[in-house]
């Protein structure tokens, strides 16, 4: 299981990363996250929408309503330029965190 804090911190970069691959809608985002993480990253569905809203307010993503084939319109999100930049910054941050973390948690060499 992933800690609450980590979950909170990772939500936005993950959404940005998913949207960087193309336009998508809420339900599908959740499905993707669940599938890719093999179930270890399980988002409460309802929690996603407030985050999406927040990100839209911050200008990281934008949305539009698309009429789907048979029925109700769906809201699709896409990443903005600002969001791209944010994703890059985040990725850089996460990478250095990851680097530091793996380095420190590797078995300590006898002499270093």
């Amino acid at each position: 299981m992933i800690s609450k804090q980590l979950m909170a911190a990772s939500t936005r970069p993950i959404i940005l990363a998913i949207l960087a691959r193309g336009e998508d809608y809420g339900y599908s985002i959740i499905q993707k996250v669940t599938n890719i993480s093999g179930g270890s990253l399980e988002w409460t569905d309802g929690m996603l929408y407030p985050v999406l809203q927040r990100m839209e307010m911050d200008g990281l993503i934008s949305s539009r309503w698309v009429a789907s084939g048979g029925g109700r319109p769906r809201r699709y999100y896409r990443i903005t330029g600002h969001g791209q930049k944010e994703l890059e910054t985040e990725l850089a941050g996460w990478r250095s965190v990851w680097k530091a973390l793996t380095k420190f948690s590797a078995p300590v060499p006898a002499e270093d």
Binding site: Q31, D45, G46, Y49, R54, R72, R75
Partner: protein
């Protein structure tokens, strides 16, 4: 069965409770739920379980809302960011403008709303003025909370309690009980001819009073010294208008007035006229030291209205408990045991005291409450109107709501706006109501027998309450429409997707209640009327028709009544005449008496009439056994009694003739019963016929002469009597009254209740119909197209009228079913106060119901007939 769509709708409704959710978010989330549900279904979960799981995954509305809230920056004033500012001055003007336009554009509906509410409020104002007046009685006395009237119950007396006590009681209580600061007593001053120079007039508004009256009561003197004004015998204190009448602009102080051509009373003080909200009033006070009566100091002669002023902090219960001891010490325990004295708070007397021999007829709290309830009902009907019309017309404002919501208005703001409009209409109605109340107040005051006036601004609590009622009534009736209006979903209304009014159930319920109230009032008024008719038509056991009552106003006329009778009987149109000391219709006396074979303290209550030998004949009473009083038996004049059948029954005398009775208090020695009279109503029909006794008093006790006239010759006979009267009593002006009218007056308060209930019923029906008219107009307008299509397809005028009016009939029918039992039980309660009651006929209920139905039908049929006659082309061509 699990209803999926319903489950979704409920879930969505739960979300909407949170202000954080906008339409778009709700749509998003719903889709999310549907997708999740779909996925779970394809995994093989059944309907209900899939929905349950899905909704758990999506999260509870509360949690989601909390998450959304995090997205918002909290402003400095802690206002939630999605809330609009509390006050937007720019909008205030817009609200007013909108309200003004609405009122201007829908003059008809506004008129119905305002008029209905105005009638309701006018009723409320009138009744408030009346209630305020009734509650204000005797409150102007500074010591009001410490003043008590001393009254007593008397063993063996026919009354519950009597308002007068013997003269020595008051001073004894003052002397013996330290908690009593002061005592003051009043005795009625008999009618007297007052003269000063050329001015002569009969005055009967006087009282004898103790000098302490000004210490106990707040009657501030305009001139004179309150401490000594009523000290000396022959002193008089006069009210301002009385002084004006006799002294004009002169200063009355120290000048004298002549009473009955023999007594000279010197004016020692002047006081302002006694306020009308007093349980007793007077034109002048004569010092009690002037009062000459052999029984003044009698411990058992009850003639003094006695008021105690208690010391600060003294308990009335404590004092009341000790009075019996005071009596026992002074009269001896045996004599005192016959009395149970008690105290009445001054401010309770007017509304809560109904003792024997009250100084003036009091009102009672039940009547006051009844009027308040009737007014409340009329107001309620008016409020329902308001609710109905506003809700029905809510649809016409749907677009406005949509635009306002789209522009960012919150539900709460819209609610406040619509509520504000209701209150605005309420105040328009209030202004109209005040005008109406002011116009009708004199008539209303006349009906109530009270000098009612609209209070000025100094009575601010009155106006505050009135404004409170207006706000409560208008906001109370506006709250539901405001709720309905503000609930419209902007997306729906702006797309024009809102269909016809859905909330017809409530409207039907309100109309039903309105008519139920009307029917209850109509039935009640009808029951009161039928009871009054019954009372008037009832055989009283004597014949009050063509009986003229002439007061004998002084010693000379009283003793000379026999001569006058002889003169009058010379006229063939005068059939009979009798002198008496009191009369049927409440004048009967009740004093302790001693019937043969009964211990002193066990005698049943018995009433008494003091009459002459011609009384039974004149009143056409029937003798059941024995004989009438007769001049052939000279002993009858002091040693004979007549009793009624009831008395024989009460005294358990199967053979009453020859049994003896003594009345020591009236100096009547033991004497036999010579005759038994058939029972007759000597009191109103509110009371069961009780036992009564008749005896012949000394001639100077007589106070009235009752003359039986031949029917059909009344005016000329009265003229004849007047001529004879002038020879007989040149001093007093001729005055007379009719016995049947005197009897009718016993039901004055019931007649007033009947009148008022009738008025209230009329108003309730009127207001209800105003509303109904508005509703009918609206619903017909709504259905114009439908009617057009029906007609095109061959519907007849009749079937359309039936369609439009049928519902109203059903509602009125239902209203009757509700109203009948309510009215029945309410009126059964009211009838309890009559010992003899008219049967409550079912026809009355049915007629009232039919009346309500007819009025309702007439109200709506105008609209339905007009709609059904309209040419369908007019309503359909623009489609």
């Amino acid at each position: 069965m699990f209803d999926l769509e319903k489950a979704f709708r409920e879930w969505e409704r739960a979300l909407r409770k949170y202000e954080a959710f906008e339409d778009a978010l709700v749509a998003d989330l719903e889709l999310q739920l549907r997708d999740t549900y779909g996925a779970l279904r394809s995994e093989g979960l059944v309907d209900e379980e899939a929905f349950r799981q899905a909704s758990i995954r999506v999260g509870t509305p509360e949690k989601i809302a909390a998450e959304y809230r995090k997205n918002r920056v909290v402003a400095l004033d802690r206002r939630k960011p999605w809330r609009p500012a509390r006050f937007m001055p720019a909008l205030a003007w817009n609200y007013l403008k909108t309200a003004g336009r609405k009122i201007g554009r829908q003059k008809g509906y506004t008129f119905i709303n305002v008029a209905g509410l105005a009638v309701g409020l006018a009723c409320a104002i009138l009744v408030m003025i009346y209630v305020r007046h009734e509650l204000s009685f005797d409150r102007y006395h500074a010591n009001r909370d410490r003043i008590y009237r001393l009254a007593t119950k008397v063993r063996g007396a026919a009354y519950e309690g009597i308002a007068k006590v013997p003269g020595p009681w008051g001073p004894a209580v003052l002397k013996d009980l330290p908690e009593v600061r002061q005592v003051t007593r009043f005795v009625f001053f008999n009618e007297a001819l007052v003269t000063r120079g050329e001015i002569r007039s009969f005055e009967n508004g006087g009282l004898y009073a103790d000098p302490s009256v000004f210490e106990v009561f707040t009657f501030p003197l305009l001139a004179g010294d309150p401490a000594t004004a009523l000290e000396a015998p022959g002193s008089i204190v006069v009210a301002a208008s009385f002084a004006k009448k006799y002294f004009g602009d002169e200063d009355p102080l120290g000048r004298s007035l002549t009473f009955d051509a023999k007594d000279e009373f010197v004016v020692r003080g002047i006081l302002p006229d006694v306020p009308p909200n007093s349980h007793f009033m007077f034109d002048f006070l004569v010092s009690l030291a002037t009062y000459r009566n052999q029984n003044r100091e009698n411990w058992k002669w009850q003639q003094f209205y006695t008021y105690l002023l208690l010391k600060e902090g003294a308990s009335a219960e404590g004092v009341a408990g000790k009075i019996s001891d005071v009596l026992a010490r002074n009269m001896g325990p045996d004599e005192a045991a016959a009395y149970s004295p008690f105290l009445q708070r001054l401010t309770d007397i007017h509304l809560r005291s109904n003792l024997f021999r009250e100084m003036e007829a009091n009102s009672d709290i039940a009547t006051v409450t009844l009027f308040a309830v009737a007014a409340f009902f009329v107001l309620l009907v008016a409020c329902f109107n308001f609710m109905n019309l506003t809700t029905a017309r809510a649809l016409t404002r749907a677009k406005e709501v949509g635009v306002r919501k789209a522009a960012g208005a919150a539900r709460r703001q819209l609610g406040a706006q619509f509520l504000g409009e209701s209150v605005l209409v309420g105040f328009m109605a209030l202004v109209a109501a005040i005008l109406v109340a002011n116009l009708t107040l004199p008539a209303f005051g006349l009906l109530m027998g009270r000098p009612l006036t609209l209070p000025g601004l100094e009575a601010w609590p009155f106006w505050l309450i009135l404004v409170g009622i207006t706000v409560a009534a208008s906001a109370g009736s506006g709250i539901y429409p405001a709720f309905v209006l503000s609930a419209f979903q902007p997306a729906d209304v702006l797309k024009g997707r809102l269909s016809g009014p859905k909330r017809r159930g409530l409207r039907r319920a309100l109309v039903t209640i309105q008519f139920a109230i009307s029917v209850v009032l109509i039935v009640s008024a009808g029951v009161v009327r039928s009871q009054l008719q019954f009372v008037r038509a009832r055989q009283l056991g004597f014949n009050p028709a063509q009986l003229v009552v002439l007061p004998l106003r002084d010693e000379a006329t009283r003793t000379g009544a026999e001569n006058l009778k002889k003169e009058l009987l010379k006229n063939p149109n005068v059939l009979a005449a009798a002198a008496s000391a009191n009369l049927p219709g409440g004048g009967d006396w009740g004093v302790p008496y001693e019937p043969e074979g009964w211990p002193k303290d066990k005698t049943p209550p018995l009433r008494m009439l003091a009459v002459d030998q011609d009384f039974v004949k004149t009143f056409e009473l029937s003798v059941a056994s024995g004989r009438d009083f007769s001049r052939d038996h000279p002993a009858d004049a002091s040693e004979a009694f007549l009793i009624n059948e009831e008395a024989a029954q009460e005294l358990a005398w199967p053979e009453p003739l020859g049994r003896t009775i003594a009345i020591p208090v009236l100096q009547r020695g033991r004497a036999p019963v010579v005759g038994v009279l058939k029972d007759f109503h000597f009191r109103s029909l509110k009371e069961r016929i009780g036992p009564i006794l008749l005896f012949i008093p000394p001639p100077d006790w007589f106070t009235v002469l009752t003359v039986k006239l031949r029917a059909g010759a009344i005016p000329e006979t009265l003229a004849y009597i007047e001529r004879e009267w002038a020879k007989f009593d040149p001093v007093h002006p001729f005055a007379y009254s009719f016995m049947d009218e005197r009897f009718a007056r016993l039901y004055a308060s019931e007649a007033r209740i009947g009148r008022l209930l009738g008025d209230a019923a009329e108003l309730a029906v009127l207001v209800g119909c105003l509303g109904l008219f508005g509703l009918a107009a609206f619903s017909t307008e709504q259905r114009t197209k439908e009617i057009g299509i029906r007609k095109v397809l061959g519907s007849s005028v009749w079937s359309i009228i039936r369609l439009l009016s049928g519902e109203i009939l059903a509602l009125v029918g239902l209203a009757n079913i509700i109203a009948w039992p309510v009215a029945y039980f309410a009126m059964r309660g009211w009838l309890q106060k009559f010992a003899y009651r008219a049967p409550v006929s079912p026809a009355l209920f049915i007629l009232s119901g039919l009346l309500a139905a007819t009025i309702a039908l007439l109200t709506v049929s105008w609209q339905s007939v007009r709609a059904s006659l309209a040419n369908p082309i007019d309503s359909l061509r623009d489609e």
